[in-house]
């Protein structure tokens, strides 16, 4: 089975995600971009799983499910952080949040 198309899709999604994480100012959109990155990884995992036969396909799918679950938790934490930032600054623009400056 040829998996090039899936890998390509994964790569495109990944690049869009990275662009979003690095360039968007809005915190919510940054979180969404992170989701895109994770999903592109999932696509790759399942595609490679199919490449190596049926048993590893199941393994890959289970792995992908785990990643989805972890991603859900991560979004929960991320949204909570963004909510707190909004409460403190009435804005979710990430370039204004620079308190980590050493």
């Amino acid at each position: 089975m040829l998996i090039n198309q899936f890998l390509l899709l994964g790569a495109v999604l990944f690049c869009i995600g990275v662009y979003g994480v690095l360039a968007r100012r809005n915190g919510v959109l940054v979180l969404m971009s992170i989701e895109l990155i994770l999903n592109s990884v999932n696509i790759n995992l399942i595609a490679f799983g199919h490449l190596w036969g049926s048993e590893s396909a199941v393994n890959a799918q289970v792995f992908a499910l785990f990643i989805i679950a972890v991603a859900a938790a991560e979004v929960g934490v991320g949204l909570a952080i963004i909510l707190l930032i909004y409460r403190n600054r009435t804005s979710v623009a990430f370039d204004e949040v620079d308190m980590m400056k050493g």
Partner: protein, 707 residues
């Protein structure tokens, strides 16, 4: 129960969640769940202990050496007795006949394992490995934890985070149970870190005050520093021992020479770092005295009886690795023994100069942990574990008793707020006395038997120098406990109000622990044929050929003489002289060897006692002839002078020399970083992300091109 030992940590783990979710709605704020759960685990642990004693000996282990082994009492009854000699108290001591067998039969450990996950063809398992050592630890933890729970119901009665406190105690107990029952290093790591977290939460229980919060962070970071060693050690052993986390397999591989010498030494050194961090050994011992910022029952449970001995437990559990890695069997000298010995002496010396009763006990704990580590370093495995067990009892007792005292006087300062408490708090006084004597190692209390076995083991295993260090340590221990008892319970009451004896929830655990502090020593004494030692023998210890030594009366006499000398000296120094000033005159001609200790002690009071006193005295006498006002002026001047001299020391020695070095290093780093900081450290997450992705992209590019 041995099969299903996982139930024990499971109970306290469930209890943690129940307290967290439902605790606040219950009439007693969740403490009833905690007390009940830990009580249940205590019953189950004792039952497991009964089953272990009852278990048949099925596992034959070849002896590593031809040393004499103490036999189990049932076997011994049939063997021809070696003879009897009179002991200290006139009781006959049975000498154990020499064992002619090559192989000894011991109780086989009970294992139960589950597959946790499979990755890369390796089946990673978790499970329980129950042997005498694990059962002994389970019982120790359960007893102390239960009594601390009961104690806390009263001690923290009106605390604002009462429910969370009990939740954290439950979780902590779970962590300790997991550690001691774990069959693999991964399981042990899990319990180990769980305890670190709970220790952090409980030290910072009153986090609103900055010092408590700082102490919690200090404890957490310091132990984490050591934990890096644990991770590295576990990783090395995983690969070196043919990809397994199994502790028994690792020990076997290490003892049979299946692990390369270099890997073994590296792993043992890394694990020793973990022990140094967790068990507060020199030079990472500084967190433990600070950890006294937590509630006193927490200090008793975590920082005396259980968590801090996790390092010692790890040493004892992975003993095969240390035995081979540091070549403990060879005698003479090794790093483990050195670390223990240095800690033992340094901490004991510091215990002399503390005002805070809990700090005295904290340094004493550090010192006793040094004793245990040293015992493991000199190959006295059984003695070390036995000392761990007895120490948990009497140090838990001492901490709880200090809690009882502070409950009455609302302070921990022995110099300002205590003294003469024996009239007001008879039960606390009596139990504290028992604990102190047990710690000092007075016959026939618990500390005597365990300390003595360590000293004997050190001598017979060819570590004579460390036996001398141990004797010095015993001497110091007895002396500083005499000082502590004097300041707290004798003399005149210096605090405010009228102290009164604590209620039953506090005195009950005290009395129980006092009874245990008297009694547990006999479990591994010649009177019971070293019963406990036979029970905790395991395959590792026997394969390594660790010698079991019979009780030796001359050695016991020497150590007893040392302890009695120290106690007598303490009595002379602290009890006979009402004023501490008289001590120097009396002790200097009498005790040349004691000068070091006295100097150590007086360093603390140099400014307040000797310097201020000598300046103030003569000048004020001269000034008395002139004018009454002048006295005030001179006294003030003397006060200022002493303050200035204090400030000078603080400014130049403490701040200048010590902090200066640290600050200098920091400053250097910050200056070199300063220029980079403008560009890289913008504080914006996305900029950091860009750097990260850029670096990964470059790395990927390099991989594609070069590989």
């Amino acid at each position: 129960m041995l099969e299903n030992a996982f139930v024990i940590p499971a109970i306290t783990f469930v209890s943690f969640w129940l307290i967290l979710f439902f605790g606040k709605r219950l009439p007693k704020g969740g403490s009833e769940i905690g007390v009940f759960a830990v009580g249940a685990t205590l019953v189950l642990s004792l039952f497991a202990g009964y089953q272990w004693v009852d278990r048949d000996k099925t596992l034959a282990v070849e002896h590593g050496t031809e040393e004499v082994h103490a036999e189990d009492e049932t076997e011994h009854a049939t063997a021809p007795a070696g003879g009897t000699v009179p002991s200290l108290d006139g009781e006959p001591i049975v000498l154990i006949a020499e064992d002619g067998h090559d192989a000894e039969k011991i109780r086989e450990p009970v294992r139960k394992e589950w597959s946790w996950f499979k990755v890369g063809g390796h089946d990673i398992k978790v499970g329980t490995h129950i042997d005498g050592f694990a059962v002994l630890m389970l019982i120790t933890v359960a007893i102390i934890s239960f009594l601390v729970h009961v104690f806390s119901t009263n001690y923290l009665h009106d605390d604002r985070r009462y429910t969370h406190y009990f939740a954290a105690l439950s979780l902590f107990t779970t962590g300790m149970y997991v550690l001691v029952t774990a069959s693999s290093t991964l399981g042990a790591l899990f319990g180990w870190e769980l305890m670190g977290l709970c220790s952090f939460m409980l030290i910072g229980h009153w986090w609103e005050e900055q010092p408590n919060s700082d102490a919690a962070l200090k404890a957490f970071f310091t132990t984490r520093t050591g934990d890096i060693g644990l991770l590295v050690g576990i990783s090395i052993l995983f690969f070196a021992a043919d990809r397994t986390f199994d502790i028994a397999a690792i020990n076997e591989a290490a003892l049979h020479g299946d692990i390369g010498r270099t890997a073994l030494v590296a792993a043992a050194a890394a694990l020793l770092c973990a022990v140094i961090g967790k068990s507060a050994q020199f030079p990472l011992h500084t967190w433990l005295p600070d950890a006294m910022a937590g509630p006193t029952p927490v200090s008793a449970l975590i920082h005396a009886a259980t968590m801090v001995v996790a390092g010692v437990y790890l040493l004892g559990r992975l003993y095969g690795v240390f035995w081979e890695g540091f070549d403990i069997g060879a005698g003479g000298f090794n790093v483990v023994a050195l670390v223990g010995a240095v800690t033992l002496i340094i901490a004991a010396a510091l215990a002399f100069v503390q005002h805070d009763i809990k700090k005295v006990l904290a340094y004493s704990t550090v010192s006793q942990l040094g004793y245990m580590v040293m015992a493991l370093g000199v190959g006295a495995w059984t003695a070390a574990i036995f000392h761990l067990f007895t120490h948990a009892m009497f140090k838990g007792l001492l901490f709880l008793a200090s809690g009882s005292v502070s409950h009455a006087v609302h302070s921990f300062d022995m110099k300002k707020d205590m003294g003469g408490l024996r009239k007001h708090m008879p039960i606390t006084h009596a139990t504290f006395m028992v604990g102190s004597l047990a710690l000092a190692g007075v016959f026939p209390l618990a500390g005597f038997w365990s300390k003595d076995e360590i000293l004997l083991g050190a001598r017979l295993n060819g570590y004579e120098a460390f036996m001398v260090v141990g004797l010095v340590g015993a001497f110091m221990t007895a002396a500083y406990m005499a000082r502590c008892v004097w300041l707290t319970f004798y003399g005149e009451y210096r605090g405010h109000g009228h102290p009164h004896e604590s209620p039953l929830a506090i005195t009950g655990p005290l009395v129980t622990l006092a009874v245990l502090s008297v009694g547990v020593g006999f479990l591994n004494s010649p009177l019971t044929d070293m019963w406990l030692g036979g029970l905790i023998d395991n395959e590792t210890v026997l394969t390594a050929g660790i010698a079991h030594h019979d009780f030796s009366v001359p050695d016991a006499l020497v150590s007893t003489a040392v302890v009695l000398l120290a106690l007598g000296l303490g009595y002379l120094l602290f009890f006979r002289d009402r004023l501490p000033k008289g001590v120097t005159e009396r002790s200097k001609p009498a005790l040349a060897g004691y000068t070091f200790l006295v100097n150590k002690y007086y360093l603390d009071h140099l400014w307040t006692g000797v310097v201020v006193g000598s300046i103030k005295g003569p000048i004020a006498r001269g000034a008395y002839w002139l004018n009454q006002n002048v006295i005030d002026g001179v006294v003030n001047a003397a006060g200022i002078a002493s303050r200035r001299s204090g400030e000078w020391v603080y400014k130049w020695i403490d701040q200048g020399a010590i902090d200066g070095t640290v600050n200098g290093l920091g400053l250097g780093a910050s200056e070199t970083g300063g220029s980079l900081r403008q560009v890289i450290q913008t504080g914006r997450v996305q900029w950091y992300g860009s750097i990260l992705f850029g670096a990964v992209a470059l790395l990927a590019l390099a991989l594609v091109i070069f590989v």
